[in-house]
């Protein structure tokens, strides 16, 4: 009895293999990291660069097109990056709001009983979803916003004025063409994905709910608002959250239209200082934090809309 157990002990013992597997994984990852770290240090040494964040205090020397907080070229790199972060947050927050409104509208329109409305929404979703966002940003910026008439002869519509100097919102708020192109491009692109999520969510509500709502004498809009949408919301929230995260990450394409967001400012900082590692660390840490905060908020919201079972 004892003999057979000894003979089969090591090679057929699952615990040994589990342990060996983990040990191999740890060694491999440690080896890889130290290999990369060693090369990095040696290469940087040859280039004469020392890693450190002291450069953040030195004078940036470049101007930034637009900023919510006071900034001038004599301020530090740290301040410039902060300006970029604030600009990023501005476009992310407004973009999420606009994308949600457009997306829900388009998603409901996809299910309209009106043939024309249904097909306009279909064409909108299928065209913009299947072309790259970057291309759309280039298009919005250089083919639309920059070729609008000049500020002296703007296009007026519903109190908005559109010119090649940007959009003026009723109430006097002035948006630059860079910001407008980015905000519109991001929201309209993300809204196509939100529209599909909304459509799927609404379609997943059982038919009986529509019939019950109708038999209560509710109007179509009331039916959607009071009965269907709250139920569809439970299914929609998790994929919707993914789209918000995508929008936040895609806002880094701002550099394509010349809007000074975090990535654009960081990129300029890298070009001026050559600090690849530090800039990389800063960008990664910031975007990870933004992603984390968005998913945290969404998880909280998700918990509040989920059905509470007995």
């Amino acid at each position: 009895m004892r003999e057979t157990r000894d003979r089969t002990s090591l090679w057929q013992d699952i615990r040994f293999w589990n342990f060996a597997g983990q040990a191999i994984a740890v060694v491999a990852v440690l080896f890889l990291i130290s290999f990369l770290w060693f090369n990095l240090n040696r290469n940087l040494q040859q280039l004469g660069i020392r890693i450190g964040f002291n450069f953040l205090q030195s004078q940036a020397g470049f101007s930034i097109g637009e900023s919510l907080i006071p900034y001038q070229p004599s301020d530090s790199y740290g301040r410039a990056l902060l300006v970029g972060l604030v600009n990023s947050l501005k476009v992310i927050l407004l973009g999420i709001g606009l994308a949600t409104i457009v997306g829900i509208t388009a998603g409901i329109a996809r299910l309209s009983s009106n043939w024309l409305v249904r097909n306009i929404a279909l064409v909108y979703v299928e065209t913009l979803r299947n072309t790259p966002l970057l291309l759309q940003l280039f298009f919005w910026y250089s083919a639309i916003f920059l070729s609008l008439p000049s500020l002296e002869t703007p296009i007026q519509w519903l109190g908005f004025t559109f010119s090649n100097a940007g959009i003026t919102v009723p109430g006097g708020l002035q948006l630059s063409p860079e910001f407008s192109a980015l905000l519109l491009g991001l929201s309209i692109y993300t809204a196509t994905f939100i529209a599909e999520i909304v459509r799927g969510g609404i379609q997943s509500v059982p038919k009986g709910q529509w019939e019950a709502a109708k038999s209560l004498g509710l109007q179509p809009m009331q039916m959607i608002r009071l009965v269907i949408f709250p139920q569809a919301l439970r299914i929609m929230i998790p994929p919707l959250g993914n789209q918000y995260l995508n929008l936040a990450k895609n806002s880094s394409l701002a550099i394509a239209v010349g809007y000074p967001d975090l990535y654009a400012v960081a990129s300029t900082t890298f070009n001026q200082t050559g600090r690849a590692v530090e800039v990389m660390v800063l960008i990664s840490a910031t975007y990870l934090t933004i992603s984390l905060i968005i998913s945290l908020l969404l998880n909280l919201y998700n918990r509040s809309v989920q059905l509470v079972e007995r």
């Binding site: 983990q22 940087l44 009106n114 024309l116 409305v117 970057l134 280039f138 083919a143």
Partner: protein, 339 residues
């Protein structure tokens, strides 16, 4: 929402466009908006648009600055690619006998790797063909090449990461989860920046890595994490009974995973993987920001020429159409596969 075929056109219009005052109003508004857009577009097309920028540069858009006397090699590449695609579409939709289907599937799958190597040899040269450096590759050719190579290389990493994340070994699971979540929290542009700038710094001897290779490395690192999540979705859909049955038959863990769980999981994950490929295909446009002359990049460089200045709308619409045709075709195909 479908209408019965007996309706006359007038009844159809009434039922679909003018049922009730609200829908009538919507129809009228949409009709007005379409008319406005249509008139504007027509006016632009007839008076302002000049398509010479597209017609004179068509070759640049398709293959970049690839030498003209070597373009026959690209025709061969196209023939190979179309042959493989046609064979797999034929197999997926027209072959009915399961045995033949499976055998053909294996044949096609095993042909992918040699075909890719053959294609890379035809495009890049060497071994008897004249070498063509990567800075001459461009346009649609580079877009397709980068997208396809990246997904092919990202696939094995994605599968390994997914298996690692589903593993019962806590450390392996931790590493894989950390990698996946880290990459998914970062924008692609940041990863491409890392690949362009950091990759030469973390490899021994400051190697001079080709720009295209660096771009592909970035896309592979990025897409592996997303593919891992797609594959994980497939793995989670496999009932526990499958693993237990395999264990009861005496399969060890690698055999269970390789022969029982993974083939089923990948089959379930196919639509999601196609979706990931579509988004990778669109994402290749970001390489334009790193001075690569793929479809978007070559469009930008054409627009920078003085004679084509201001032809933005024409160029971007044309490029957009190319992207759209590919993405739309792929998404339709994957929807068909799902059925």
């Amino acid at each position: 929402m479908m209408n019965t075929p007996q309706k006359t056109p007038l009844q159809w219009v009434r039922a679909n466009l003018f049922n009730g005052w609200f829908n009538t109003l919507l129809t009228l508004f949409c009709g007005w908006a379409i008319a406005q857009t249509g008139i504007g577009l027509f006016r632009w097309l007839t008076t302002q648009a000049q398509w010479a920028v597209v017609t004179t540069n068509l070759r640049l858009f398709l293959v970049g600055r690839y030498p003209q006397d070597q373009v026959w090699r690209l025709w061969m590449v196209l023939a190979i690619a179309i042959g493989l695609i046609a064979a797999s579409i034929f197999n997926a939709f027209l072959v009915k006998q399961p045995k033949v289907k499976e055998r053909l599937n294996w044949t096609i799958t095993s042909l992918i790797l040699p075909a890719t190597l053959l294609i890379l040899w035809l495009i890049g040269g060497g071994f008897g063909l004249s070498r063509i450096s990567t800075n001459l590759w461009g346009g649609l050719l580079l877009t397709l090449l980068v997208a396809f190579t990246s997904i092919l290389l990202a696939f094995p990493f994605g599968v390994l990461l997914a298996l690692g994340r589903q593993s019962t070994l806590p450390i392996v699971k931790g590493f894989c989860t950390a990698y996946i979540e880290l990459v998914r929290g970062l924008p692609l542009i940041g990863i491409l920046f890392m690949a362009q700038v950091m990759l030469p710094l973390v490899l021994p001897g400051q190697p001079n890595i080709d720009r295209v290779v660096r771009a592909i490395a970035g896309l592979v690192l990025f897409n592996a994490a997303y593919l891992a999540e797609n594959v994980r979705g497939g793995l989670q859909a496999i009932p526990r009974g499958q693993t237990e049955a395999a264990k009861a038959l005496g399969f060890n863990t690698p055999l269970t995973v390789g022969l029982i769980v993974l083939p089923q999981a990948l089959k379930i994950a196919i639509p999601a993987i196609v979706g990931q490929f579509i988004s990778l295909f669109k994402d290749t446009s970001l390489l334009a920001l790193f001075a690569l002359l793929e479809l978007t990049g070559i469009g930008r460089s054409i627009l920078a020429q003085p004679e084509f200045l201001g032809r933005n709308a024409e160029v971007y619409l044309f490029i957009g159409l190319i992207y759209w045709v590919f993405c739309f075709a792929m998404s339709r195909l994957s929807r068909q596969l799902e059925k």
